[in-house]
Amino acid sequence: MDAIADRAFQEKQHNVSQDETPSLLAVVIDTNPLEWTKLKGVICLKELCKSVLVLLNAHLSLNSGNRVAVLTSSSLNSGPKFLYPDPNDKTYEKRESLLSSDIHRQFKFVDQKIIQELQILLDNEPLNPENQELKGSIAGAMSMALSYINRLTNIEPESTGNTLRAKMLVISISDDSTQQYVPFMNCIFSAQKMKVSIDVCKMGPDSSFLQQASDVTNGVYMLIKNVHGLIQYLTTALFIDPSLRPIMVLPTNSDLDFRASCFVTNKVIDIGYVCSVCLCIFSIIPRNNVCPTCQSKFDDAVVKKLRQKPIVIPLQKKKKLEDGVQRT
């Protein structure tokens, strides 16, 4: 990667092997109902939930100080939401236990909460989704997760003295939405600044935004083809502790498409023009020499220069000296 992106992660960590700092795992689950219907027959939310619970329990069992947070991204009824921890812990009524009573207490507490909250979320979904607008997005949920990570890793240690590392796992099934580009990028850069790596578990279509997210933050991006092995993926490739990252070879792809897309024609381009005011990218010089996004007027002389086509200058005939007489 480039110099800027690398700097945050290349600082050498000492005593990596003895490091026992607990870590926080924030999981963002894409719950876009419209996208889940597209995956019908491949995987359902229930199966995903099962695998995620295994992952969370595994994370909690590694270190007694480890913590988890689970968020849902979007639904027709409510926007990004925390499944665990629950802010309204005091008011919630005890439901019938869905889990076996033999389970480890810490696991039980987390698992039950997540299942219940997810059930409430699904119960509140309207039955006929027409005319309903989807609320929330992955970027919103990631912003929330980052604020929560910021509280636990930067603000609370000031008073308690307990340090915590953090990583984020995004389980996404939906396609990229260009509207979300700016908030998404802001999330990626703040994660990079906070040294939070973003791992991505992707099902369905490939996502270039999430690929960039994991690339910039030194995370792992996995497009999962075989959903039956989901547990395996989650507990191996996507389960590398932040303290182990510097010494592991990450299973990620390094051939990444960084090409930008044109704001006007939406074509992916190699060489383009950038407005110096709003940094929009164009594949063609915009009409009337006015930026379509920020309405800035471009300098005519500069545009004229850019419009110039390369000219092939005709080869000049070699001047020959024949019998002392110069021929032209």
């Binding site: 480039d2 700097r7 609320k135 910021n150 509280r151 960039q212 383009g272 950038v274 110096s276 920020c294």
Partner: protein, 447 residues
């Protein structure tokens, strides 16, 4: 030192400010001035709480400001400090047209005065460590910009690192000058002339800026500095100066003339924290002023290439440094390999950037709206911060609030809730600071 401050100018206009050699005479003038006008011409802003100059005030120790409340808790004062920190962000958020692509020369005073120990451990050491931080911040927020560093030492200007877009080189160069001893006099003119030379070749779409950290109160110049100022104005180079000692009239004039009559870019530090804040301000791109826009014929369009990254099993040479490296980026114009971005293709002169570099600057262009403090009420719609789940203090009635137990506690004088004007969600002060300082997204709006 010479007295080239504001008060002095008001009495004796027409005398050259960079006239150094009349120390004795200067003292005499100052006395005369005091007789004539007493303190009537003194700047009101300099007045302290007792009506005199602020330096005549009683000295407040930092540990005297912190006082325990009746219950012996420091919580009240801590919230107060947090709120004060938050105030820093209550700045202008109206979107401006800004010069996002910048070329800047950082000029650092390294003359004898920089070895003074009024800043810990001394001025030079603190300046260098702040400058390193500044370089990192600058490239973090302005990835497609260029920076160069110049040192003022022994009456001449010394080039520390060439104008380039690679933060590592600058940080290395700054680390290497840590070993140097600050000596000699500073020369504003020499420094500006060198900076001018460095900025001469910057393309028209880029801003030209000089950021100077100036510790001395004088300058020893080989010629007339006003001609240098004239050429700076002509070449549209904008100068920001951070003074470490006191205000110097010539610095103020330079800032005023190079910034279209706006002298707010000249500031003198109050303490170490303020020094950092002033440097941090310089990280944000300058807004393009109205008068500058009128002069311009229009904005420029930049041709840029978005290269693809390759990974190789066998290393090959890069076109930029001629080093053997694994992988790199392929210029879409001429298919040569470069090892680091952003850069200008050494082969075909095409500007090579990644779309992520552009995205880093977007938050300057679309700033997040400020959150408003929720007024005190008996009950609130929220119990927890929307994004980090911190519990808010509960609302209470007027009678409860005036209860003697609660009156002293500061937390009952604010609602501790901050509301996003778009999504109306409530946030705690920590999240408010984080969201505006780092994230630049409102988690509630979700987009």
């Amino acid at each position: 030192m010479n007295d080239s401050d504001d008060d002095y100018l008001e009495v004796d206009e027409g005398i050259e400010e960079n006239d150094l050699s009349f120390d004795k005479k200067g003292v005499a003038r100052r006395t005369r001035k005091e007789n004539q006008k007493q303190k009537t011409t003194a700047n009101i802003a300099l007045k302290g709480s007792n009506g005199g100059y602020s330096w005549e005030d009683e000295y407040h120790r930092s540990w005297d400001i912190v006082q325990e409340d009746e219950a012996g808790s420091l919580e009240g004062i801590v919230t107060g400090i947090m709120e004060a920190h938050k105030k820093r962000f209550l700045k202008n958020v109206t979107p401006f047209q800004r010069g996002i692509i910048r070329s800047m020369v950082l000029v650092i005073d390294f003359s004898k005065v920089m070895s003074e120990k009024d800043l810990r451990p001394n001025r030079a050491a603190l300046t260098i460590s702040n400058a390193i931080e500044f370089v990192n911040n600058f490239f973090d927020q302005n990835p497609i910009s260029q920076l160069g560093i110049v040192l003022m030492r022994n009456g001449i200007a010394t080039l520390v690192s060439e104008v380039s877009g690679n933060p590592n080189n600058h940080v290395e160069a700054l680390r290497s000058i840590r070993r140097l001893e600050p000596t000699g006099d500073p020369s504003l003119q020499n420094a500006f002339e060198m900076a001018r030379g460095l900025l001469l070749h910057t393309p028209s779409h880029s801003t030209r800026e000089i950021l100077m950290i100036f510790g001395a109160l004088f300058t020893s110049d080989p010629g007339d500095i006003h001609t240098t100022i004239d050429s700076l104005v002509k070449e549209k180079i904008r100068v920001k100066i951070i003074g470490l000692t006191a205000q110097v009239a010539i610095c103020k004039e330079i800032c005023r003339r190079t910034n279209y009559g706006d002298d707010t870019l000249y500031a003198v530090i109050l303490n170490e924290g303020h020094f950092k804040d002033l440097l941090l301000d310089a990280v944000t791109p300058l807004a393009i002023s109205k008068s500058a826009q009128v002069e311009m014929r229009g904005f420029t369009l930049i041709k840029a290439g978005f290269p693809t990254r390759i990974s190789e099993a066998i290393p090959s040479f890069c076109a930029c440094h001629s080093k053997l490296i694994h992988g790199g980026y392929i210029c879409p114009g001429c298919k040569s390999k470069v090892c680091m971005l952003p850069t200008v293709c050494p082969c075909c002169n095409l500007m090579l950037i990644l779309s992520t570099h552009l995205a880093r600057s977007y938050h300057h262009l679309f700033p997040l709206k400020l959150f408003q403090e929720v007024p005190l009420a008996e009950s609130y719609i929220s119990t927890n911060c929307f994004s980090c789940l911190t519990e808010f203090p509960q609302g209470m009635s007027e009678s409860e609030r005036s209860n003697s137990d609660n009156r002293a506690k500061k937390e009952f004088h604010t609602s501790s809730r901050y509301q996003c004007p778009d999504c109306n969600k409530h946030f705690c002060v920590d999240c408010d600071v984080f969201v505006h300082d780092v994230l630049h997204n409102c988690p509630g709006c979700g987009c």
